[in-house]
Amino acid sequence: MVTFIIRRLVGTVFILLIVAAVTFAIFFILPRAAGETAYGLATQYVGRNPTPAAVHAMEQTLGFNQPLYVQFGRYIKAIVAGEHYLGQWCGPPCLGYSFKNQQPVWPQMVSDVPVTLSIGVGAAVLWLVGGVAIGVISALKRGTIIDRLSMSVALAGVSLPVFFTGLIALELFSYKWPIFPNVQYVGITTNPLLWAKNLVLPWIVLAFLYAALYARLTRAGMLETLNEDYIRTARAKGARERTVILKHALRAALTPIVTIFGLDLGLLLGGAILTEVTFSFHGLGLFTVEAINNQDFPEIMGVTLLAAFFIVIANLIVDIMYSVLDPRVRY
């Protein structure tokens, strides 16, 4: 087991290195291949109407006139050992320096993590509990109005984008009926009650999207499991219906749900982008959007690496869980 984990961790490092190389290539090699000069790249970092001397100085500072392998080596070295930028120390893991904000990228992202976690964890609990519960009820009431209604809501949840449901939720519950007025992120340590109150709408909106998917998956899994012979056997042995459903049927149906849940947590940044933009919460999602809007390449590269890291770690955890459940995958 330990060997398996070590092997996967080493693989994780290589994957991250490849992601770093690909993002570096996208932002620095492709423009050069398309004819962009080192001078042209540097102009993006010196504001409006720069003097040629200022552009040349920035070109030197950023090392755009050095060979690409030197630039990439410097980028990787900064991640491992840190780097000085314009007199500021960017400690490891230095994922670059934002010349737009004139700050190292990593501390900015770290300060945004609690916001994304707050949204993501709360929403994940909601969508897991809600989605599974709806799925189980739908399966048990198959063909009834309850089943159809649940699946219709689930279909709506999958179909409606967060920026739509979010704006509707704000319009209704923040402006028309101000149950949640002036929704802004408040730190959990600052005011736990306000933290929770202001997160209710983002949680519901994000959970609505995911819960729909989980409800449909749970329903399908439950319907399949309920037709298994061992369920019939359990009932024949006189087991209580509650035991049959929760202990035998749901347990088996949950296996793929757990796998997807792990991956969804890794991919949470995608959902967080729309939720944070809609509710103006300053998490990693909004950070990503701002970075793209500003064409802030170091920030985009940083957040890409961080997202890749989360996904790889989520995959690793899922694989480890699989290896625990099924020893065959260890080999």
């Binding site: 109407n49 200022a54 500021q88 700050q103 701002e290």
Partner: protein, 590 residues
């Protein structure tokens, strides 16, 4: 000098009138009546009057921003709304008069006691700074702090965002000076073009005369910075205040909180005031949500000052009660098409005139949001620029749907009676420009001018496409959309970059028409000569405007307007013409 002094007094009264609603007792009645609102607000009343004048102190003013400031460092910003907002904590040598109407375009001393004293044939500008201005920590501002503020803007690797006027205009070692962060001279004050003979005098030595230098020192870059408190790129996190407010906290690009600066003396700068007990700016807020929060009263101002989004615009314009709380001022910039003088057949002036006549100004205005989004333009220079005079050379106002007869006549004159083919360049990620290009294409087709549409990304529009003359020539981009807002509101600020033959450059070109008219070039040079006066500059600006239009190198679209919503909770609200948005320096809250 008397006139300048009187402007200063009027300005003082204007702000005081905002605050006391009583300045009229000691000034002229007309002045008083134009700056107060005795009978409640009305649509557009904030353009010419002060809404809710009050001296009431206390309360919190909350601003939202759909994006972020380019920087809160006064030496590192180029956004108009940040220049406006920065007056709350930064005091440059000169500033703009705090008053509604055209007076808001007039310069007055801020940190300086008077406008610059010119000597040495226009090469030397001397400013005396007020002796009792203090930083937030209580230390007195000296001329060395002003010199240092200018010096630090020379290091574009640390402060890349602000204008480069000092690098371009100053003499001495300005062309090679690296800035104080790399300066290795004794005392790190090595910019020889700026001298500080005593603690209250700062002297600028220019490379050549520049009559608009007072405008240059009104840019926040001259706001003093104490050298021992400068943290370089991190100075944006807490600029040391010389204004009525100071930074309490700043989470970069998330939230900024200002509180009153106890060391600020109101007598030192009557253009700003200290009424609210707290000012909060939230960044990166969803643009539509800003409008909702503004209309719901959760916030008091959209700090970007570019107007509400389409959804809120519809709500405001369909509600008389909301409309009373709105203003639709000229924003200070103009949208237009450049008509290139080098791309055949537009190298023939008659072909360019055919386009001027054929264009349908109504559909072009619709592309920019109709009359609320902009006023049909007939000149190359907008009404907010000093020296503007209305004229209608190509019947944009008298025949806004276009004049096909005149267009065909010009086509015949240019030897293309059946029309010709050329390209239209625009920024494809700007829906209004897409609509404008499409509208122009439709209008020109009615007289036989066939156009092909070429959309480009806005990020590289000037560097690689429309701003690259070689690209424009090789792709037959005879018509190129553009817009302009000047750094200061006179003819030089408006035309120098977009109509001066000397401004044509291989990349990042903003004279996209490639106009190189000796009359225009000479007028611009005369504007900045040592003998230039404000009256002469106004006359020359009007002359250039006529010349540019008679050369038919610009097809004006609209003088841009912004539909602004003024929160009923605010006091002393009015549009400052220079910024084209509300004056953030004087706001209070009920």
């Amino acid at each position: 000098m008397m006139r300048r002094r009187r402007i200063g007094v009027t300005a003082t009264c204007a702000v005081t009138a905002i605050a006391l609603a009583a300045c009229g007792s000691s000034s002229s009645p007309s002045s008083s009546s134009s700056t107060t609102t005795p009978s409640g607000p009305a649509y557009n009343q904030g353009i010419s009057s002060v809404i809710n004048p009050s001296t009431a102190k206390g309360g919190t003013i909350t601003y939202d921003d759909s994006s972020t400031f380019d920087s809160t460092d006064p030496g590192n910003t180029y956004y108009a709304h940040v220049w406006n907002f920065s007056r709350l904590y930064a005091t440059p040598l000169m500033t703009y008069t705090s008053t509604p109407g055209s007076g808001g375009n007039q310069l007055v001393p801020a940190l300086a006691t008077t406008p610059g004293v010119v000597s040495n044939n226009g090469l030397t500008w001397t400013y005396t700074i007020k002796p009792n201005v203090k930083f937030e920590d209580g230390t007195t501002v000296t001329s060395a702090d002003v010199k240092y503020a200018v010096e630090r803007t020379f290091d574009r690797t640390v402060l890349p965002n602000g204008p480069s006027y000092f690098q371009l205009l100053l003499g001495g070692n300005a062309s090679t000076y690296p800035g104080p962060f790399k300066d290795r001279s004794k005392n790190l004050m090595g910019l020889t073009a700026v001298a500080t003979p005593n603690p209250t005098t700062v002297v600028f030595h220019l490379a050549k005369p520049f009559a608009d230098f007072n405008y240059v020192v009104a840019i926040p870059q001259t706001a003093p910075v104490p050298p021992d408190k400068d943290t370089g790129a991190n100075y944006q996190l807490h600029p040391i205040s010389t204004g009525p407010y100071m930074f309490q906290s700043y989470q970069l690009n998330k939230q900024l909180t200002l509180v009153p600066n106890p060391s600020w003396n109101p007598a030192t700068n009557p253009q700003v005031s200290q009424l609210a007990s707290k000012i909060v700016v939230n960044f990166n807020v969803n643009a539509d949500d800003i409008d909702n929060r503004l209309l719901a009263g959760d916030i008091q101002m959209d700090v970007a000052g570019t107007g509400v989004q389409a959804a809120a615009r519809a709500r405001i314009l369909s509600s008389s009660s909301l409309m009373k709380q709105a203003d639709d001022p000229l924003a200070g910039f103009e949208w237009f098409f450049y008509l290139n003088t080098k791309v055949a057949p537009l190298n023939n002036i008659a072909c360019r005139k055919a386009i001027e006549y054929a264009a349908n100004k109504i559909t072009l205005q619709d592309a920019y949001g109709g009359s609320v989004g902009g006023q049909i333009a007939s000149t190359a220079m907008p009404p907010t620029v000093i020296g503007y005079q209305s004229f209608d050379m190509y019947e944009a106002l008298s025949k806004p749907n276009g004049d096909p007869t005149m267009a065909k006549s010009e086509l015949t004159a240019c030897g293309q009676p059946n029309g010709f083919t050329t390209g239209i360049a625009y920024r494809s990620d700007r829906p209004k420009e897409v609509a404008a290009a499409t509208a122009l294409q439709a209008a020109l087709s009615t007289v036989g001018i066939k156009t092909t549409l070429h959309g480009y990304p806005s990020g590289t529009y000037y560097s690689n496409f429309a701003g690259s003359p070689a690209y424009v020539h090789s792709h037959d981009l005879g018509i190129d959309i553009g817009g302009w807002a000047p750094d200061w509101p006179d003819g030089f600020g408006w035309f120098d970059e977009i109509a001066n033959g000397n401004a044509i450059v291989p990349a990042g070109n903003t004279n996209i028409s490639e106009l190189n008219d000796p009359v225009v070039n000479n007028d611009l040079a005369e504007m900045e000569s040592a003998s230039s006066t404000p009256a002469l500059r106004a006359t020359l600006a009007n002359e250039i405007d006529h010349k540019v239009m008679s050369d038919a190198v610009m097809l004006p679209i609209v003088y841009a307007k912004s539909l602004l919503y003024r929160s009923p909770a605010l006091t002393n609200v009015y549009v400052q013409e220079y910024y084209g948005m509300y004056n953030y320096g004087v706001l209070g809250t009920k």
